[in-house]
């Protein structure tokens, strides 16, 4: 069971290094750093594990795979919590409501997100990167999916059907 100490060390290292990166380097896109650290730490865990416990039996392999999966899951959970809670939609709404008393009214809150332009605040944050990333094509005021986006749409629709999710998008 001592083998599980390795992923535990990996997870703590991920947290410390990620926190230091965000606090000290202040990158514009921390995602890339998080991904890099998570992958590097996975490799490190695998290398140390194999040095300490060579893969001779099925149990050795099971121990390695479960350790790696647990480590990656914990990193993913921290990463997801960071984005979902601090950057996510609900977190943003609660941030606005907590810090700005004038927004504690449904219509005023909606207006603050809708803005005055053709594109609301939520779409304005996503549209440029979706176009740049080749997911969507924008011609003046119209949008169309590009092949990459189309594949994602089909995959998402399949998930809606298989897991009875309704229409997703955070809307019940």
């Amino acid at each position: 069971m001592i083998r599980l100490l390795l992923p535990a060390i990996g997870v703590v290292s991920f947290f410390v290094v990620s926190l230091a990166t965000v606090r000290i380097l202040r990158p514009r896109d921390p995602k890339r750093y998080f991904l890099g650290y998570a992958l590097l730490l996975l490799v490190a865990t695998a290398v140390v594990y194999r040095a300490l416990w060579p893969l001779e039996t099925l149990e050795d392999v099971l121990g390695l795979l479960s350790g790696l999966l647990l480590q990656l899951l914990a990193c993913l959970t921290m990463w997801n919590a960071f984005y979902s809670l601090l950057w996510g939609f609900s977190g943003s709404l609660m941030y606005d409501l907590f810090n700005d008393e004038s927004l504690r009214d449904r219509e005023r809150l909606i207006k603050s997100y809708a803005g005055d332009g053709a594109v609301d605040r939520i779409l304005a944050r996503r549209l440029p990167s979706l176009v740049r990333g080749g997911w969507i094509e924008r011609r003046d005021q119209t949008l169309q999916l590009r092949p990459k986006g189309l594949l994602m749409a089909l995959g998402t629709l399949a998930a809606f059907k298989v897991f009875s999710l309704g229409m997703g998008g955070g809307v019940k």
């Binding site: 809670l85 601090l86 709404l93 907590f98 809150l109 809708a114 189309l150 997703g168």
Partner: protein, 165 residues
């Protein structure tokens, strides 16, 4: 290789079980269902460990297999947030479902705009007892909402997040 096959089979089995329960109990919370399936089947995987890998396993080996199964449930949980919560993926679906696969910004806003998003999210936050919505549309933060607001505010300060969503 054998362990990878076992992992894939365990993941698919959990996903199918979650899909079946979600199909039967359409209004149940999908995340609750995943946790339930994952946690409830873990002791089974522990007990049947040797049968699953078709090789005798020691107590330690069965613990690893059970942990592997549990972590796969965690991945399913994370995967589900994509179709269920992602604004971007919902936009893709709206574009796919649109006539000729094309939508104007205005039409997209009418199908899935801030009013729909915020209205639904406020309702979910109200159901989760984070806030209450008055008949006049006034929003009051409840203790849980105050805590969440404070948490997000200090978290954003800690991580130097100046703009989000």
């Amino acid at each position: 290789m054998k362990v990878l096959v076992v992992a894939v089979v365990l993941f698919v089995a959990q996903a199918l079980l979650v899909a079946a329960i979600a199909a039967i109990r359409r209004h149940s919370n999908i995340y609750g269902t995943i946790i339930l399936v994952s946690v409830a089947t873990t002791p089974l995987v522990f007990m049947l460990g040797s049968l699953i890998v078709r090789e005798p396993l020691s107590m330690e080996g069965r613990v690893y297999l059970a942990l592997l199964h549990l972590s796969l449930g965690g991945y399913l949980f994370h995967f589900m947030t994509l179709p269920d919560r992602s604004v971007t993926l919902r936009i893709f679906v709206e574009l796919w479902l649109a006539p000729n696969g094309t939508l104007s910004l205005e039409a997209l806003g009418a199908r899935y705009g801030v009013r729909t998003m915020i209205g639904s999210r406020l309702q979910q936050l109200e159901e989760g007892r984070f806030l209450s919505i008055g008949p006049d549309g006034g929003l009051t933060l409840l203790p849980r909402g105050q805590w969440f607001g404070r948490f997000v505010t200090s978290g954003r300060r800690l991580f130097n997040i100046t703009s989000a969503n």
